[in-house]
């Protein structure tokens, strides 16, 4: 898949172009006051329209099938990114905790020193 139309898209597009030509022919016949002929074109064009609807619906279904796999892949890579962000935050927390622990140990040393002086 690239950024160009697929074969299937081209087929639907050409069917839609035919359908449009049918509509234009029907309107022209109505303008020429030929309602019976216009009606016949309208009826066969309606059948083509139903087929186009089915094909568009199928393309949407196929897209959902393809997207499901891609969405899962993207969710996986997002989870990895989240982990990378968390890892850096964790290392900062570890450093902050180390500083806190050093502070606590220093306090303990100060208390111990006072106790030693008391003897």
């Amino acid at each position: 898949m690239a950024f160009e139309q697929t074969q299937k898209e081209k087929v639907i597009e050409s069917l839609m172009a035919e359908h449009r030509q049918g509509q234009i022919a029907e309107i022209n016949l109505r303008l020429q006051d030929k309602p019976d002929e216009a009606e016949k074109i309208w009826q066969s064009n309606s059948r083509l329209s139903a087929e186009i609807d089915i094909l568009i619906g199928q393309m949407m279904d196929e897209w959902i099938g393809n997207a499901e796999r891609a969405i899962k892949g993207l969710e996986k890579i997002s989870a990895k990114l989240e982990a990378a962000v968390a890892e850096i935050k964790k290392q900062i927390h570890v450093a902050q905790n180390v500083v806190k622990i050093i502070g606590l140990l220093d306090d303990a040393v100060a208390i111990a020193k006072k106790v030693v002086k008391g003897f």
Partner: protein, 324 residues
């Protein structure tokens, strides 16, 4: 003579000030930080902003398609195509207490499912871009955090030195030692931040390429469906105008409706064209983020193009909503 929009269309420029200001701020930030050694978060913010706009644009377009296919379905069934009603009688799929199924789902139901799928894909993309922004954020390894670490360490050292009865060295000496340690740790984490970002950008490039192609394909399918609905609505109005029994004033009113429908369709197609171009620019923009990390002097033309498309989408949406 035939006219078409195959040449680049020109529109009256209408720029909502707030959105323009935010885009301008991002563009200035992108240019402003070029040449700095630290990670610039601006291109990452630009990517997130652009993908958010693409998601909104795609959803708005599919909302139109859903509404129109649904209206056409109602009109067709009411006009006598009663057999179609069966598709509306939903059943429960075996073994799925929360599921629903239609034996012959009408197009509007498929459009609704498709819309949901496109929104999901775009939301995952927005989430991914947001995480890249987080990983690129200067706040992740902020100097303030490390200054605080150094200050705490200094305070601890002073307390312990004094408690041990050693004649305290000057504050400056202790501070220099602590600042150096903290700075080294910060440099290590900054390096880790940069390498994690680069690794993510390189290894995720194929996934972004695939997602962008899927997004572009969704836009083309949406365009097809929208065009199909336009064909139906416009032909219906033209048939009314062609009816010899219709009064002149009735014809004038219907003709005006047809003109308005055409004008609206042209704008809607412009939105979809811009959306398609945005998806097409996405892989190169993603690649550019990595190139910009390796060489801060590397230009960011695709990121800027994406931002430009986001601005276009905003303007076109604004024009469309004014029409409503």
């Amino acid at each position: 003579m035939m006219i078409s929009n195959t040449q680049k269309s020109t529109f009256i420029v209408h720029r909502p000030l707030c959105f323009l200001a935010s885009i301008l701020a991002i563009v200035l930030a992108i240019f402003g930080v070029a040449g700095c050694a630290s990670i610039s978060p601006a291109p990452f913010t630009a990517l997130t902003t652009s993908i958010q706009k693409v998601r909104d644009g795609a959803d708005a377009s599919l909302s139109l398609v859903h509404e129109r296919t649904r209206d056409r379905y109602i009109a067709e069934v009411a006009a006598g195509d009663v057999a179609k009603v069966e598709g509306l009688l939903l059943t429960q799929p075996a073994g799925d207490p929360f599921g629903w199924a239609s034996s012959d789902p009408p197009l509007f139901l498929k459009v609704a499912r498709f819309r949901e799928g496109v929104h999901r894909l775009n939301s995952v993309l927005v989430g991914y871009a947001g995480l890249l922004s987080q990983l690129a954020s200067p706040d992740l390894v902020s100097p303030e955090q490390f200054d605080q670490l150094a200050r705490d360490l200094n305070a601890n050292l002073r307390t312990s030195v004094q408690a041990l009865g050693v004649s305290a060295p000057s504050d400056k000496e202790i501070a220099i030692f602590s600042t150096l340690s903290a700075a080294a740790f910060q440099a290590y984490l900054k390096n880790k931040q940069r390498s994690s970002l680069l690794k993510a950008l390189h290894s995720n490039q194929p996934a972004i390429q695939e997602a962008a192609e899927l997004g572009a394909s969704a836009v083309r399918i949406t365009t097809m469906a929208l065009r199909n609905e336009y064909h139906h609505s416009s032909a219906k109005l033209a048939a009314l105008i062609a009816n010899p029994k219709m009064s002149d004033s009735g014809k004038q009113t219907t003709l005006r409706e047809l003109i308005e429908l055409d004008e609206k369709f042209i704008k809607e197609i412009s939105v979809l064209r811009t959306l398609h171009q945005s998806y097409a620019a996405l892989p190169a923009a993603h690649q550019e983020l990595a190139a910009g990390l390796v060489d801060p002097k590397h230009g960011l033309p695709m990121i800027l193009e994406l931002l430009e498309k986001a601005r276009d989408l905003n303007r076109l949406h604004d024009e469309l909503s004014k029409g409503d």
